[in-house]
């Protein structure tokens, strides 16, 4: 992995972490006690700090470190998690995102020295100040206080300092030790903040004072960036003659905790190894503890593994080598590792391009296998039919599995709206609850990516125009806080996303007035209410009197519609004044390959997406009606509009009187429509090929596909076809047709 790849991975990772931090903060806003989310925020900051450190992005490290420290205090209960604090944390998250954006923008060429600029630096500082104000570093919780070393207590206890106690053995001088040389060496690794010297003199000592013996103890407060192993290395020489206890600073302590949480599974072995691995324990300390354990074990003849483990932890704490909290965390990591190992190995990160390539190949495979079928049928090789069937079956399985690879839960896209709603409602002084259901519904990744913008717009609309302010709501007898409900679900090969609010609803009269003012409709046009509502999808129409920060520049809904239509989807609108608005987006599952239904009309052949085909019936000419320029048919008592494909597409070919025709009933959204065709040619797997720039404006056709014979058939866009048909007749439609 070269540096640029690593940098990209870094940026991606940070984005993910910030996302999960945001989610966690949103959860905390509702339930400040949620420890899982607390950990999440901590973890996000901590990991970003760590990775930024690797890349040498000092400002990011400094900033995230401060936030991390604060989160640690919150986690240990030293600081209450108040609403303002959460709000500041949101800003901290955004600030981190901005810092990383700067890194991203500067690209791979901007050496290691990334320029963050004054403004950002000041913003960061003021944020940190606000974090600091609400509670200075408080003393360690008593539970985490070292349980040993009287000397420690006399030292300035600070979270940034290493606490080292040295107890020289009586024979230290006789063995030629010079205690001061150790201190001098230690001083070369960092800053000796405080050294207190104690004498281990006990008046009850029997042998009396021996001037050649050493009674010295040192308590040292030490500031250094060195790790525990290095510091212990200083005293390696004195090991035989000296009791050494090294306690890591509070911040390092929390780093151990983090490291323990994030140790790669396959590296988790015994608890001792684990502690050595993260640096909380030196190997020598471990060996000594193991020795003690061994003697004790043989004495008590306790062999049970779990007992053994706990005892090792106890011994280590007793020795003062590590803090109990660290040992507990280590034990926890060890225990949860197996579960996590199973969980995480289920996922593999794959380059999206590789997936795209695979899906392209599968598309070619589908076409080729259709070609083989045509060949075999033409050659009349009966023996081969079975094989071809088998291949067909496998190809369709492969196609489904390949497409499945790109499916991701829509949750990923929806959950970011919690933030959008939160920010927007605060800005506007509204109380809004966002309810998301069906987040597990899966959708093609590319569809999701292109869905975010229109969805953001719709939700901002709901917040801005839909939900009223609390006092207005109270006046209307509604609960003070409004609800926006996003619901996603599968419906016959499509994904439906509903955005419903219980706000003011749309006012048809105002829309109409606006549309007339813009010249979109004539005053004497008679429109049904749903046709009036659809006018908001026309360009340049916004009913909000003044544009706000959030929405309302009149470029909104038509962009939403064209975005959705570009995904071969459709938008529907349902609103009643005073009750609320519901926007329904209907999307195809995928953009690449669909099941199609081939029909013939005149001299042309068309593919209708099979998911939209409700049924096929024989056309009974006697049941057809002609009203106001539209064709209707009586289908088992139901009035169904229909289009003659050959007619609307001027497909040529002469229709013999009395020739049999078929009616394909298609469904789009809540609508049904009949398509009259000359022949039904059966189902097929369809690889959608774009028609290209020349046909961008062609309506009613979604793309083309290559049939097994090598010929091309056009894929119909049923919803657009209906619009084209209606557009010929209704004014609201004409507004759409000339988009």
């Amino acid at each position: 992995m070269n540096l640029e790849d690593a940098r990209q991975a870094f940026i991606g990772e940070v984005a993910e972490l910030l996302d999960s931090m945001e989610d966690a903060l949103l959860t905390l806003e509702e339930d400040p006690q949620d420890s899982e989310s607390l950990n999440e925020v901590f973890r996000a900051m901590h990991t970003i700090k760590g990775t930024s450190g690797v890349f040498g992005y000092a400002p990011v490290v400094e900033f995230t470190h401060a936030v991390e420290t604060l989160m640690d205090q919150v986690r240990s209960g030293q600081r209450p998690l108040t609403k303002p604090l959460i709000a500041t944390l949101f800003e901290c998250r955004d600030h981190t995102a901005r810092l990383v954006e700067v890194i991203e923008e500067q690209g791979p060429d901007g050496d290691e020295e990334v320029q963050f600029g004054e403004v950002l630096r000041e913003a960061g500082e003021s944020l940190l100040q606000r974090l600091g104000q609400s509670g200075a570093t408080s003393p360690m919780a008593s539970a985490e206080r070292p349980a040993d070393g009287a000397a420690d207590k006399r030292l300035p206890v600070s979270s940034e300092l290493w606490m080292i106690t040295l107890e020289f053995g009586a024979d230290a001088f006789r063995n030629g030790m010079d205690p001061l040389s150790f201190l001098r060496y230690l001083g070369s690794l960092g800053d000796l903040v405080h050294v207190s010297t104690l004498l281990r003199l006990d008046p009850s000592q029997e042998e009396g004072f021996d001037p050649e013996s050493c009674y010295l103890c040192f308590g040292i407060a030490f500031r250094s960036d060195a790790d525990k192993q290095t510091i212990a290395g200083v005293f390696e020489f004195a090991d035989q003659d000296c009791e050494i206890r090294i306690l890591e600073p509070e911040s390092t302590h929390s780093r151990y905790m983090e490291l323990l949480e994030s140790v790669a599974e396959d590296e988790v072995g015994c608890i001792g190894e684990l502690l050595v691995q993260v640096g909380a324990l030196t190997r020598r300390e471990l060996e000594r503890a193991l020795q003690i354990q061994e003697t004790e074990t043989s004495a008590c003849s306790m062999t049970s593994c779990s007992n053994l483990r706990r005892r090792l932890g106890e011994i280590l704490v007793e020795q003062g080598s590590v803090k109990s909290a660290v040992v507990e965390q280590a034990a926890k990591t060890q225990e949860t590792v197996r579960a996590r190992r199973q969980d995480e190995s289920r996922f593999i990160r794959v380059d999206a391009q590789r997936l795209g390539h695979l899906i392209d190949l599968v598309g070619e495979l589908v076409t080729s296998s259709a070609a083989i079928r045509v060949m075999v049928n033409r050659a009349g090789i009966d023996d081969a039919t079975e094989v071809v069937d088998g291949v067909d079956y496998l190809v369709s399985e492969i196609r489904d599995s390949a497409l499945q690879l790109r499916m991701v839960p829509i949750e990923e896209c929806l959950s970011r709206f919690r933030r959008v709603v939160r920010d927007a409602s605060q800005e506007l002084g509204k109380q809004i609850d966002l309810v998301i259901t069906g987040g597990e519904t899966e959708l093609d990744k590319t569809v999701i990516e292109r869905l975010t913008d229109p969805l953001t717009h719709l939700i901002r609309n709901a917040v801005d125009h839909g939900i009223e302010t609390p006092d207005v709501r109270a006046g209307r007898g509604k609960p003070a806080s409004g609800t926006i409900h996003i619901n996603a679900f599968h419906d016959s090969g499509h994904i439906v996303v509903e955005i419903a609010d219980d706000g003011a609803g749309l006012d048809p009269a105002r829309i109409r007035a606006k549309a007339e003012a813009r010249g979109l409709v004539k005053p004497d046009d008679s429109l049904r209410e749903d046709e009036v509502l659809r006018l908001i999808f026309a360009p340049g129409l916004s009913t909000k009197e003044e544009a706000t920060n959030l929405s309302g520049r009149g470029v909104g809904m038509d962009v939403v519609r064209s975005n959705i239509e570009a995904l071969r989807g459709s938008v529907e609108l349902d609103s009643s004044p005073g009750v609320g608005t519901k926007v329904t987006i209907i999307l195809p599952l995928t953009l690449a390959i669909i099941e199609g239904f081939l029909v013939g009309a005149g001299e042309d052949r068309f593919v209708i997406p099979l998911s939209q085909v409700a049924e096929c019936v024989e056309m009974e000419a006697a049941d057809a009606l002609h009203r106001r320029g539209r064709h209707y048919i009586n289908l088992r008592g139901e009035v169904l509009p229909f289009i003659r494909l050959a007619e609307i597409f001027e497909s040529g070919g002469t229709r013999e009187a009395g020739r049999r025709e078929s009616l394909v009933v298609v469904r789009f959204g809540h609508h049904k429509m009949g398509l009259v065709v000359d022949s039904l040619l059966g189902e097929l797997q369809t690889v959608i090929k774009p028609l290209g720039i020349l046909f961008e404006r062609l309506r009613g056709v979604a793309g083309a596909t290559i049939l097994g014979t090598g010929d091309i058939a056009l894929i119909l866009d049923v919803a657009e076809l209906a619009a084209v048909d209606q557009g010929a007749r209704s004014p609201s439609g004409s507004a759409r047709a000339t988009r």
Partner: protein, 190 residues
């Protein structure tokens, strides 16, 4: 049909012929016929020439958009040069060919378009001094479609400007006009 396919060898031969007259600057032009008229285009834009496969009509498009073809798995639009030049839609014969041309759109992206012609003739070397500016009038073809006139043995051939004949912007823009015309026409219709 074999003689219609541009083989690399054939082109090479012609190039070496041209090489003998290196004193003059020589450009190569593909000539083809639409109806009775012989037309030419610079060979640099030509990607390949194919026999006419099954052309799939695309509904609701102007008549000069003949349809789309399957070119080794991709869908390529075909422009009917007869209709484009205002000579009426061409009738497919045994000699009909599609010249595949790469054109650039406004945004600079390359697009492959097919151009349906009645017959592909041959490749001509025309020296620069035999290339004359287009006449300002007197031609039945839109003047901007004509890049120049090339003199071949005392006969002038029209050299088409592919940038204009197959201008993506114009093809798309014309589409819009026809669409608007269609929709306004339908609006009037009750």
């Amino acid at each position: 049909m074999g003689e219609l396919v541009l083989s690399g060898k054939g082109m090479g031969d012609r190039r070496s012929d041209a090489g003998q007259d290196s004193a003059e600057e020589v450009c190569q032009y593909l000539t083809f016929s639409v109806g009775e008229e012989r037309l030419a285009m610079s060979i640099t834009a030509v990607k390949e020439i194919i026999e006419t496969p099954q052309i799939t009509r695309v509904p609701m498009t102007p008549e000069y958009i003949r349809g789309v073809i399957n070119l080794r798995g991709s869908v390529v639009p075909v422009v009917d040069l007869g209709a484009r030049l205002g000579r009426g839609v061409l009738t497919l014969t045994r000699r009909s060919c599609i010249v595949l041309v790469e054109v650039r759109s406004g945004s600079g992206d390359g697009h492959v378009l097919g151009m349906l012609v009645d017959e592909v003739k041959n490749i001509l070397d025309i020296s620069r001094e035999d290339i004359k500016p287009p006449p300002e009038f007197g031609s039945e073809i839109r003047t901007d479609f004509i890049e120049a006139m090339g003199r071949v043995e005392d006969v002038f051939v029209i050299i088409l400007s592919m940038d204009h004949v197959l201008s993506i912007q114009e093809l798309a823009a014309l589409r819009r006009i026809s669409e608007e015309a269609a929709s306004s026409g339908l609006d009037v219709d009750p």
